[in-house]
């Protein structure tokens, strides 16, 4: 197979123009890095954004945010998400046979959907799904050829192309024969052609090259210090992030030719960002980041309306207006139907989910006051909601980390959980006051009278202050370096399926700079997709497996 090394430095130089300085340390050797400097995957140093230098050095912490890790990096091998499974079948066979199939659940890394860390041990659900999809595909393909009489020829003409698209690879003659034998043996045993065809389709739908995204990198060896993806792998990584499916011909060509013509790749990415699918990418990011379900809880009613409000709001702010990410928190408008207008106590708009400017009396501004956010992060008893709401602000907007509660303390009374002697104060003095900022909203996000007081952010960041409501908190977010740094980490994690490490310093810095410059999500996407990290693979040998 022809492979192409991705020249990330050329791409970086072309697109991001971050100042690079000399290297004072190499990862994994134990040398000390200079303040504000980390190293890129192949050893080059990167200048960290001003004010957060310590976070790029791999040691210590700043504002309670742990510095980037210096531990070995491992690029996750993922199984396809449900929507990727369906889209891949659709692309390969030009069929919607898998669109409604019941598939095993997607997993999460704790924030975003990614089937990398789930440890799935039972793939029976995939066998069931594949059996069903194979049956549907066989019915569709049966009329296209004389399968019983001309099995080999039919396999070559009708099955080989979609199978190669499904598996994202070219089949060798041996592989083709192995798959075809599933069909021909069934025919020889007297099976109807449709059943025999179904067997072959089941075989390819169970192939690990379809079900997983396995990247081997240039040379195909384990690469603890990083290796470039092949052009084919890079195109797949890009395409699955943007389109949930295998790359089209244009993207494959652009990725393969990125060395000779880096501009073509950037142009192709620009074109893909205009695709409708990018709207879903952004929704998946925001809904995962802020703990809002990506799907509505029902087809109608309050929960459906609150979901629709937030989804329209996010798309309008980030995609239609191309506003910076921080405007999600400060926008003085939203998109309401009658249900939401009544829920918020504001006049209903003329049309369903029209843009509504929120009056000051509504105590609403930005996504932190959306009922979807408030109910997804605090549909509990009031004092329990404090915890969840404080926790999500602390962990998702400012990248703090709370340890698990000590054993046996789940039922500590609220009055004592912030007492120094309770064993709980370390966390609760952080999250409870933050959660109380939202105390005027009940578990469904409706306004109630009476905040608890003693509320504010006590993270030790540049945003610390007493706040009387979420609006006051939101006003400070656009100026917070801690927020921008955390948002950059979240965006990196969403894109790569792993936390950024010191070796990713240049990539993370580029993303962070876009956020500081009030760039749009289109700028963020390009910063991510053209970053060195996005075309690198890290893997490690195993002593336990295959030795």
């Amino acid at each position: 197979m022809k492979t192409t090394r991705i020249r990330w430095k050329r791409i970086l130089g072309m697109s991001l123009l971050l100042p690079l300085t000399g290297c004072e340390g190499v990862l994994g050797t134990g040398e000390t890095l200079g303040a504000g400097e980390g190293t890129q995957g192949d050893g080059e140093a990167v200048q960290a954004p001003e004010g957060v230098e310590d976070l790029y050095t791999g040691t210590g912490s700043q504002w309670g945010i742990p510095a980037l890790s210096m531990e070995p990096v491992s690029s996750p091998m993922v199984r396809l998400l449900q929507r990727e499974y369906r889209q891949t079948v659709a692309t390969a066979f030009d069929s919607d046979a898998a669109q409604m199939t019941s598939l095993p659940n997607d997993a999460s890394d704790g924030v975003f959907l990614i089937n990398a860390y789930d440890g799935l041990g039972d793939y029976g659900g995939y066998v069931d799904a594949a059996s069903s999809v194979a049956g549907a595909l066989a019915s569709e393909l049966l009329p296209s050829c004389e399968w019983a009489a001309e099995a080999e020829a039919c396999f070559a003409s009708e099955l080989t192309p979609p199978i190669q698209a499904l598996l994202r690879t070219s089949l060798s003659e041996t592989e083709r024969a192995q798959i075809a034998s599933v069909m021909t043996e069934s025919l020889a045993a007297g099976a109807p052609a449709e059943v025999a065809l179904e067997g072959a389709l089941l075989r390819v739908l169970l192939d690990e090259r379809f079900l997983f995204r396995l990247e081997l990198g240039e040379g195909g060896e384990v690469a603890p210090d990083g290796a470039s993806l092949t052009g084919h792998e890079f195109a797949n990584r890009l395409s699955y992030w943007l389109l949930d499916g295998p790359p089209n011909a244009n993207l494959s060509a652009a990725a393969a030719g990125s060395v000779a013509d880096p501009g073509a790749l950037e142009a192709e990415i620009d074109a893909l960002l205009q695709d409708e699918s990018f709207r879903e990418v952004i929704w998946q990011f925001v809904s995962g980041w802020l703990g809002i379900g990506a799907e509505a809880a029902g087809p109608d009613g309050l929960e459906a309306s609150m979901h629709e409000e937030t989804k329209r709001f996010v798309e309008h702010v980030l995609l239609d207006q191309r506003a910076p990410l921080s405007e999600l928190f400060t926008a003085e408008y939203s998109f309401l139907d009658e249900t939401m207008a009544e829920h918020y106590g504001v006049p209903a708009p003329a049309g369903e989910f029209d843009l509504v400017t929120l009056p000051p009396s509504s105590s609403r501004r930005g996504i932190l006051t959306h009922a979807s956010f408030l109910s997804a992060n605090g549909a509990e008893e009031r004092d329990v909601s404090w915890i969840f709401r404080g926790k999500i602000v602390y962990e998702r907007l400012f990248c703090g980390h709370l340890p698990a509660p000590p054993p046996g303390v789940a039922d500590v009374e609220v009055e004592s959980r912030e007492d120094p002697g309770s064993g709980c104060a370390g966390c609760h003095t952080i999250v409870d006051p933050t959660g109380r900022i939202f105390d005027m909203f009940d578990g469904h996000g409706a306004f109630i009278d009476g905040a608890a007081g003693d509320s504010g952010v006590r993270f030790g960041t540049d945003i610390d202050a007493d706040f009387v409501d979420p609006l006051a908190l939101a006003e400070k977010i656009p100026e917070s370096l801690a927020f921008h740094h955390c948002a950059a980490r979240m965006w990196f994690r969403f894109g790569l399926g792993r936390e950024p490490h010191v070796v990713d310093g240049a990539s993370l810095a580029a993303i962070e700079q876009v956020l500081r410059d009030d760039g749009s999500v289109f700028d963020l996407a390009k910063a991510l997709l053209l970053s060195p990290a996005f075309s690198q693979l890290y893997s490690h040998s195993s002593e336990a497996v295959c030795q």
Binding site: D118, G199, E380, A404
Partner: protein, 492 residues
């Protein structure tokens, strides 16, 4: 009496005495003539276990008997209307309610002498940072919630009891695919593979039916036909296995581990499929155990996604139960884990499944996550009502098992139903897990009683309960999960 003794007894004698009543047919009828030709499980009277898993625990005051431990008397006058059934972080024995106690159990009044209630166990997995995750992980593994290093109890009992049945254990799940912000099997389902990895809930019990009965259930005697689809499936699995064996060492450690896990799962499914092929010629059962599945539903690529439709919840529940009954009756397995909905389930395409069940007195739009959190008295009452509805389904299961001949009695005689959950009550609490045992295989258990398992007034780990079950059912394990102290207070 041991199992080999049972096998020597004439099943026909029993059928003539009792089967007619259960089936509503008379000796000498045409149907009776055909029934006499049929055979049941290959090993009549073998012990069987069913796990009946319902999420979020229950409303404690509406569940436990008001009079405290002792002989069980389900109070058919108990009511929760207008009341607020409490669930507290203290032993139920200190705040049980005479007015509300056993309200949830009322559908099981006829089965009262088959029941064992046991309070006093605490699932400490709920102390994990993510309570739902920890509690679910620990529910059937007996772990502390930090991850299961072993399979769930259904797996272990399945290995122990499998005999000549096809599957060690089967698992079915229902309506939980949209667990809030975390859709994993790890979070949503208590089933774990031998390595502690999460199982693969599909939230559609018809997929389990398809796995266990890929050729359907033969209801009339006759020459079995070759199931070409099953044979083709076996070829596809074999080819997949061979390919995986050749490529499993690709990539780095994580990739290799995933491919190893995938290969192991494919190998297991291939073995089960081979066993199904071998079982093609199994005789039809003495009673009709076919599962009533609407036309088109065995196609799980169905465009109408019937399994996500909340109005189908009751029908899918019945399919789930009937599939378990058929699987036990036809010797496909001897252990079944049935999961109804999921912990923290609220954020779905439609989370309204409890609203359409016609539950008497149901007041609100209650979903599972509400059951687990919301302190509103309406939710507390609705939780009791939902739990009561589940126990109506449990009663249906018991009646089905009573109607099917097995060994020298009926299947219920040889079956233990373990009612379980991951929490004991709302607010992520785990004290007084709502454990109920139904049935008494081999006369092992105290029956018609409510027991409290606390020791010196302290709750015991729920893993003691799970280990106690293993020991009671003949396993020799000295530890399970965090326990090396099996509970034995429920033994006769």
């Amino acid at each position: 009496m041991n199992q080999s003794d049972r096998m020597k007894l004439s099943r026909r004698g029993f059928v003539q005495a009792a089967g007619t009543t259960a089936l509503g047919v008379t000796a000498g009828s045409a149907l009776w003539a055909s029934l006499r030709q049929r055979a049941l499980a290959a090993e009549p009277g073998a012990t069987k276990v069913i796990f009946f898993y319902v999420p979020e625990g229950c409303a404690q005051q509406a569940f436990w008997p008001g009079g405290g431990p002792g002989d069980l008397n389900i109070n058919m006058s108990a009511s929760i209307d207008g009341k607020n059934p409490q669930s507290k972080a203290q032993s139920i024995t200190t705040y049980s309610s005479a007015d509300m106690g056993t309200y949830c159990l009322q559908p099981l009044k006829e089965q009262e002498q088959l029941l064992t209630l046991i309070s006093g166990f605490d699932n400490l997995g709920r102390n994990l940072e993510q309570s739902h995750l920890g509690a679910v992980r620990a529910a059937l593994t007996g772990s502390n919630g930090g991850g299961g290093a072993q399979g769930s109890l259904d797996y272990h009992l399945g290995q122990h009891l499998q005999g000549d049945s096809v599957f060690g254990s089967i698992f079915s799940s229902l309506f939980g695919q949209h667990v809030l912000n975390n859709l994993t099997g790890d979070f949503g389902s208590p089933i774990r593979t031998p390595s502690g990895a999460p199982g693969s809930p599909t939230w559609n019990p018809v997929t389990t039916y398809n796995q266990v009965f890929p050729s359907g259930i033969q209801t009339e005697p006759g020459e079995p036909k070759i199931d070409h689809r099953l044979h083709a499936r076996l070829r596809a699995l074999g080819s997949t296995r061979a390919h995986l064996e050749a490529v499993k060492c690709q990539g780095g450690a994580q990739a290799q581990q995933r491919l190893e896990a995938y290969l192991a799962s494919i190998e297991k499914i291939e073995e089960e499929t081979q066993a199904l092929v071998n079982a093609d010629g199994s005789p039809v059962p003495e009673v009709d155990v076919s599962v009533d599945i609407p036309d088109g539903w065995t196609n799980i690529s169905s465009a109408n996604e019937y399994w996500k439709n909340h109005t189908n919840f009751a029908k899918l529940s019945k399919i789930q139960i009937d599939t378990t009954v058929a699987a036990l009756a036809l010797n496909r397995t001897r252990v079944s884990l049935m999961q109804f909905s999921a912990s923290g389930n609220s954020n779905g395409v439609n989370g309204s499944h409890y609203q359409t069940l016609g539950i008497q007195g149901f007041e609100g739009g209650t979903q599972d996550h509400h059951l687990g959190h919301d302190p509103d008295p309406v939710r507390r009452r609705d939780q009791a009502r939902v739990f009561r509805w589940y126990y109506e389904q449990l009663n249906y299961l018991v009646e089905r098992l009573k109607a099917i001949p097995d060994g020298d009695g009926v299947m219920m005689d040889n079956t233990l139903i373990v009612c379980c959950s991951e929490f004991s009550m709302y607010n992520h609490r785990g004290t007084d897990m709502p454990y109920v045992l139904v049935g008494n295989p081999e006369g092992l258990f105290k029956k018609g009683v409510y027991l409290d398992a606390r020791r010196n007034g302290n709750q015991r780990s729920h893993s003691d309960f799970l280990l106690g079950l293993m020991r009671a059912l003949g396993m020799s394990n000295t530890s399970f999960g965090t326990s090396s102290d099996p509970y034995s207070g429920f033994l006769a």
